[in-house]
Symmetry: C2
Subunit: 239 residues, 2 copies
């Protein structure tokens, strides 16, 4: 049950000790990424291991100015990579079509699945980790920074390192009851009572928690930027 208890206990870590992560530990993380399930054994992703402090700092700024990204010992950008196989097909004389949204979809899945293997492996090795979805903002700057092209698209960013004592003490936030997210046989919208009960089960008072959360997250400038930038990332896949 060790793996199960690790999956249940793992929480995000955003502050790291200034203690470097040994190269063999990083290597193990990357091997766990590569061992992850992948469509047709294609590994339709790439991982950019960002070691240059100047690139980390620029990434932090691109990702909604989150300074802790610049301070993280390990910074891994997971790309949905439709370019590598496209190049292989061309090299083999196949005259391949351009990738479409279906190709983007399977590459994106591959990248996320590989990233979560890294998160699970990191926890087992005493490392903390945090996903940064803001990596899909500011397409134009990221493309320049990492040398991307129209068929190599960020899927997620992971920062990792040894957690500070404060981060280790932090309580993992409660999740919704399973009944709020698991449906049998068909999807069903929650009733108003079920909605309120789901938040109450987490200790969040619906009427006072939800409206400020909506303003702070859902109606935020970073969500608008994410939508703008994602539209630009997806355009080349729409032919």
């Amino acid at each position: 049950m060790d793996t199960i208890s690790q999956l249940l206990a793992r929480k995000s870590v955003r502050r790291f000790l200034q203690k470097p992560v040994p190269e063999d530990v990083k290597q193990t993380l990357l091997e766990c990424a590569a061992a992850a399930p992948t469509a047709g054994n294609q590994q339709l992703y790439a991982v950019v291991d960002v070691t240059d402090p100047a690139i980390k700092a620029e990434l932090a700024d691109i990702c909604d100015h989150q300074g802790f990204i610049a301070d993280a010992p390990i910074v891994l950008v997971f790309l949905a990579d439709c370019r590598r196989w496209l190049d292989a097909y061309a090299l083999a004389g196949c005259a391949p079509r351009d990738p479409g949204l279906g190709d983007y979809y399977i590459a994106f899945c591959d990248a996320l699945i590989a990233a979560q293997n890294v998160v699970v492996a990191a926890h087992a090795l005493g490392l903390g980790s945090c996903y940064i979805g803001d990596i899909v903002e500011n397409r134009e700057r990221l493309v320049d920074l990492l040398g991307l092209d129209e068929f190599t698209v960020p899927a997620t960013l992971l920062v990792l390192g040894y957690p500070t004592a404060q981060q280790l003490r932090r309580r993992k936030p409660a999740r919704f009851p399973l009944a709020a997210v698991v449906h049998t046989d068909r999807y069903r919208r929650l009733t108003p009572d079920e909605q309120k009960a789901a938040f109450a089960a987490k200790g969040e008072a619906f009427d006072t928690f939800v409206p400020p959360f909506c303003r702070r997250k859902y109606e935020s400038a970073f969500m608008a930027e994410m939508t703008r930038s994602m539209r630009a990332y997806l355009a080349p896949f729409r032919g």
Copy 2:
């Protein structure tokens, strides 16, 4: 190192014993899904636990006629669910905008990350699993079958059960060398020599392996359908 060796050893399983999975085991899988990292602790996903044999059979047909889906003891559809929070915002009087591609993106990440926790947990509990990306094909039929709306979109499908002896014996396919998928600081396209070496390292002769693979997978009817259907799924998020 137990978790690490499990991550490295896990392989896809497509044939299952006709041995039911106890309810408490399924419950543990779902709790591991819920414990997964999630943007802003929102759990922007839903899991449809498909138990009805008629629905399983229809899913198998929707997913490129893969019969083993109908025979799997556990069939879980992971949805990127932008509807539940949208309903919560409306219920709290927030007059929320419609979800955009940024919202779709974070919900999609949440769903895939939760799914991979289920895969890892399943392996630890002696269960095999297989991802079915074909779940994004045939949008119109899936929407009807599972009662989806425009803001609840399939992210992936997982089938799970106890592996047959043959599946346990099957060798895990070799992955590309890390050098083919990991880049330092910037993305770099592989040279022709690097491409060929990457396939050779897996035991695949580039010139004879790649062209038929391209015809069978990349130029297949199911990839074309995936692209068509994904375009339909994403349209409501494009405003």
